[in-house]
């Protein structure tokens, strides 16, 4: 009983503390379902004074650009995650084998990329002038195929597997690649899940790749589209004009531009915000597993 009473102030603190994380989301939702005029005269409110779904109607009427960005983002997120998991697990496996002769230099080769980088400008010149990745969907995928920190995380997990498994398979005449995908990979589902999720989240939230390398609207990622919408109302007008629904003329002066912004934000960010917290424990784990030590 005594411990429960001592807990009360702590719980009150945390209830207020959690409000600090919940209220911002409520603010976005309520701004998106407020009547445009009410919003402009009264400002953003926690609970809308005059309720309206007008903004969502506009978004649904001309979803062209939004749908397109959704497609682009889903495509590159999945492809990049899948490819990078192949590259990274393949690389982590030899480094986890104590008998592998070139383990030390290769590990150094990888870790050095964590410590030093060429910087934005040389990368930009390489990507645009020599690899011709500007305005190309592969710019979302190729530069993110491997990440030194993630390779080390995967390697550490592999090292934790009993070495006798690998040895006995080798004695039975299995080739390295067979050992890798028949024994090591099936045993490593936890780390593969964790790192895949970290990658997926990073790709999904990627806005700066498009900021730097993408000019054509067809290739905008979701987050970059959102950023453009927050920056300029023009974008919303363009979307309304290119409405594929024939016969519907939209009066641009009455376009609920403020509320549309937040409606788009909800439509674009909502699904992931509901899905990702379910995998919460993987994210926390992913960072603590990373014992970089030799």
């Amino acid at each position: 009983m005594k411990s429960k009473r001592a807990n009360l102030p702590v719980n009150i603190f945390f209830l207020i503390f959690s409000l600090g994380f919940i209220i911002p989301f409520i603010l976005i939702i309520s701004s998106s379902i407020t009547d445009e005029q009410t919003l402009i005269t009264e400002g953003y409110k926690l609970i809308p004074h005059k309720f309206s779904l007008e903004a969502y109607k506009y978004v649904m009427k001309s979803p062209g650009q939004l749908l397109n960005s959704y497609k682009v983002t889903i495509f590159y997120s999945l492809v990049a995650t899948a490819f990078s998991m192949v590259v990274m697990t393949l690389m982590a496996y030899p480094l986890s084998r104590s008998s592998y002769k070139y383990k030390k230099p290769v590990t150094f080769f990888i870790i050095f990329t964590m410590l030093f980088s060429g910087g934005l400008i040389p990368t930009y010149i390489l990507m645009t002038k020599y690899l011709h990745l500007q305005d190309n969907i592969w710019v979302y995928i190729l530069p993110n195929l491997a990440n030194a920190f993630h390779i080390i995380v995967i390697r550490s997990f592999f090292q934790g597997l009993p070495p006798s498994l690998v040895e006995s398979a080798k004695i039975d005449g299995a080739r390295e690649l067979q050992v890798f995908y028949k024994i090591v990979l099936p045993l490593s589902k936890p780390v593969i899940a964790t790192v895949s999720l970290l990658n997926l989240l990073a790709r999904w939230n990627d806005w700066n790749t498009a900021l730097i390398y993408i000019r054509s609207k067809e290739l905008f990622s979701l987050q970059y589209l959102l950023q453009q919408i927050l920056r300029e109302v023009q974008f919303i007008k363009d979307m309304a004009e290119s409405s594929p629904v024939a016969g519907i003329s939209i009066n641009l002066t009455q376009l609920p531009s403020e509320t549309i912004r937040f409606a788009l934000c909800i439509v674009a960010a909502g699904p992931m915000l509901i899905i990702f917290p379910f995998f919460q424990k993987y994210f926390a784990k992913g960072l603590t597993v990373g014992a970089v030590k030799e």
């Binding site: 945390f14 590259v87 400008i121 040389p122 990368t123 700066n208 919460q280 603590t288």
Partner: protein
Amino acid sequence: MSKLKREQVNLTIKKKSKWGVFRDNFELSMMLVPGIIFFLVFSYIPMLGVIIAFKDYRNNLGIFGSEWVGLRNFKFFFTSQDAFRIARNTVGYGLVFIILGIVCAVAIAILLYEVKNRLFLKFYQTTMILPHFLSWVIVGYITYILLEPNMGILNQIIKFFGMEGINWYLEPKYWVVILPVVHVWKSVGLSCIMYYAALMGIDEQLFEAASIDGASKWKQICYITIPSLIPLMTVLTILNVGGIIKGDFGLFYNIPRNVGLLYPTTDIIDTYIYRGLQTGDDIGITTAVGLFQSFVGFVMVVATNKIVKKISPENSLF
């Protein structure tokens, strides 16, 4: 005796030739090929590209055609008035973020440890970690709702108390507080959960024994809880120490919305380099700034690791 044995062993195991070693490791080496190509192309070639920092880069002449200018780019930057501003902002915010990040995360983790109700615990953890799943763009939306001068929540509150609303996007001085608050808001949940996980590893008997001996809650925190968190704190600090000079571009670009008037307190090396890329002139100078940043970050991480290794080897990173 032992010497004799060693010689015998040497006799029985024939030293393999270099070719033999290579052949034995061939299969494993092949698995590294995609990754090595990746790092060569996307990490090491840009590293060579830093020679632009020592050249007067002209787009039409290319990297190799442009003229060498020695350290002129560095000199030009360090004598410009931007240098002091962006260096002060980058390092200043970097230090504040690290210290504030640790203090908040550890304090909240210790408080969270006092919550015994499983359901409440889960609820607090989930709300805290939500911002981690948001991109900086969405966080930009949230700060916009709060700070918008006419309709924003903060100004509504200020006006409610009868004071004059503040145009946040025109007043640099407030950003010294706004940016750290936003940073902590986004990152505290995840690091707090990591510290909490470390706390769960402490043997409860330590606390029981301490309270039998009459140690107050505060004493227990000082002598049991915090010392047991120190290994994790060191590892996270070493990982972040390079970040003192490497600012979070997402935060500094999306939250102040690239407003020129705010540059005195919001411009950091990374936003400066990005603008250099946008305008396209002074590519050499911008590259020099980037190289300087990478180099200082590198030195800081290696030095911190060395120091930690001296004091307590088991906490060092590599």
